[in-house]
Amino acid sequence: MGTALTYTEAELVLGLKSRSEKHFGYLYDHYSPALFGVALKVINDETIAGDVLQEIFLKIWRSIERYDIDKGRLFTWMVNIARNTAIDTLRSKAYKQGLKIQELGSAIAMEQFVVHLAVDHLGLTKVIEQLNKEQRIIIDLAYYKGCTQEEISKILDIPLGTVKTRMRNAIIQLRTILKQL
């Protein structure tokens, strides 16, 4: 996109901290699809997800000072901002509409979690479908919907004590599948 330049992560962070819009544009070009994907998975609405994506990048721009490269990768930090921003929006919107978290458990809502990819980029749909539905749902509920262990236990109707081991199994399965890529 426009620039053929590439930055190392350290250069990029340094540029952002010195408020360089060029670096920010580079950041957007390289990371917006991943972060938009996060917002879209959380919100399930392209228009709202677009607004949320702007908020995410403004937050990154404003709080880059606080990012410490020694504490973790830039991508991890940004994904967490994206998740938190999107989940906050989801919760506040859900709150306004008077929705209760229990309703997430309804069969219709369950289907929505299993978002199908519009474009089969890299042929990943088939691979991701190898994760069984419950494993995908447990990861998505926690990671993308910000549900607590209690909520997941209620929604999936499994004992509270087994939520963590289910999560482990789901991620181990995910790893096996990702290895095939």
């Binding site: 819009e21 920010f24 544009g25 957007y28 070009d29 917006s32 699809p33 991943a34 938009f36 994907g37 996060v38 879209l40 998975k41 392209e46 677009g50 994506l53 702007q54 990048f57 403004l58 721009w61 991508f75 991890t76 994904v79 998740r83 978002v115 990819l117 519009a118 474009v119 980029h121 990943l124 991701i128 990861i139 926690a142 990671y143 910000g146 549900c147 607590t148 262990q149 997941i152 939520v163 963590k164 081991t165 289910r166 999560m167 482990r168 199994n169 789901a170 991620i171 995910l174 790893r175 990702l178």
Partner: protein, 281 residues
């Protein structure tokens, strides 16, 4: 600490998925700092989650980048603008205050202003009074409309409850449905009795009975060992579409419907029998 057990407990995965409480998160972070095996496991899971995130990457709408870059600039401008405005106002205000006006002129201006205000006030009074009438009319109209709606709503609600009751009865196995076919010259017409031998409740559904004259009414009879027992009269018209409650029936082998004088008879006019149906035993 049993590191292997800790790793296999699932807490590291739950932490990476954002599932743990704050105190648990602190515990995991402490364990990561302390045990290299835990750190390795946590890093691996983090990579898994990042790759999972990448799988769902979607290109955002094209216009977004430009909008965003403009918003970056806006924010910076906003900070500087208000400060300037305030400074300008403070300088200009003293200049425009109180030009030198003679006392007499002040009095004249005052009188003129008072008269002007009086005129405006009168006009406003007139305008508002006429508006009040308008609002009153609107208000009456709205409350009438609301009343009509509420009547309509009640009617719907009754219809709904009726439908619900019918549904419940259809589901209740205690109810027996007896289809009564036309007899003698009345072939082709039909009515159905819905009878609960336990609760004695009885309903009739007058699906296809010919219209009657004003002074006549259909009457339902339960026949036990050849003796007719009155089960009450019922209506046609709109009511044909729904179940009508009739008198409770204690026992019945056959149900028949006859045409009687309005209000019903004590004994059935058997020559006026329209439909009849046997109760399945």
């Amino acid at each position: 600490m049993d590191v292997q057990r800790y790793i296999s407990s699932g807490i590291i995965e739950s932490h990476a998925a954002g599932l743990v409480s704050e105190s648990e998160a602190r515990e995991v972070e402490a364990a990561i700092m302390q045990y290299p095996e835990v750190k390795a496991a946590a890093d691996a899971v983090r990579v898994d989650m990042e790759r999972y995130v990448q799988i769902w990457a979607v290109k955002p709408p094209a216009g977004l980048r430009k909008q965003l870059m403009e918003r970056l600039n806006e924010k910076e401008e906003e900070v500087t603008v208000p400060v300037q405005e305030e400074a300008v106002e403070e300088e200009e205000e003293p200049r425009s205050l109180m030009p030198q006006i003679p006392v007499l002129k002040m009095w004249q201006y005052g009188a003129a202003a008072a008269i002007l205000l009086l005129i405006i006030s009168s006009i406003m009074n007139f305008v508002f009074v006429s508006r009040i009438d308008e609002y009153k009319n609107k208000n009456t109209k709205l409350s009438e409309e609301q009343e009509a709606l509420s009547v309509e709503k009640n009617a719907f609600s009754e219809r709904y409850q009726q439908a619900q009751k019918e549904m419940d009865m259809m589901k209740d196995p205690a109810f027996k449905w007896v289809k009564m076919q036309g007899v003698n010259k009345h072939t082709g017409i039909v009515a159905t009795v819905c009878w609960n031998p336990q609760s004695k409740e009885t309903f009739i559904l007058a699906q296809e009975l010919p219209a009657t004259s004003e002074d006549k009414q259909y009457q339902l009879w339960a026949i036990v060992n050849g003796h007719p027992i009155d089960a009450g009269v019922f209506e046609l018209g709109n009511m044909t579409k729904s179940l009508q409650k009739v008198k409770p029936v204690v026992n019945a082998q056959v149900f028949v419907v006859t045409l009687e004088k309005k209000g019903g008879s004590i004994t059935p006019s058997l020559d006026q029998m329209f439909v009849a149906g046997k109760v399945a035993s």
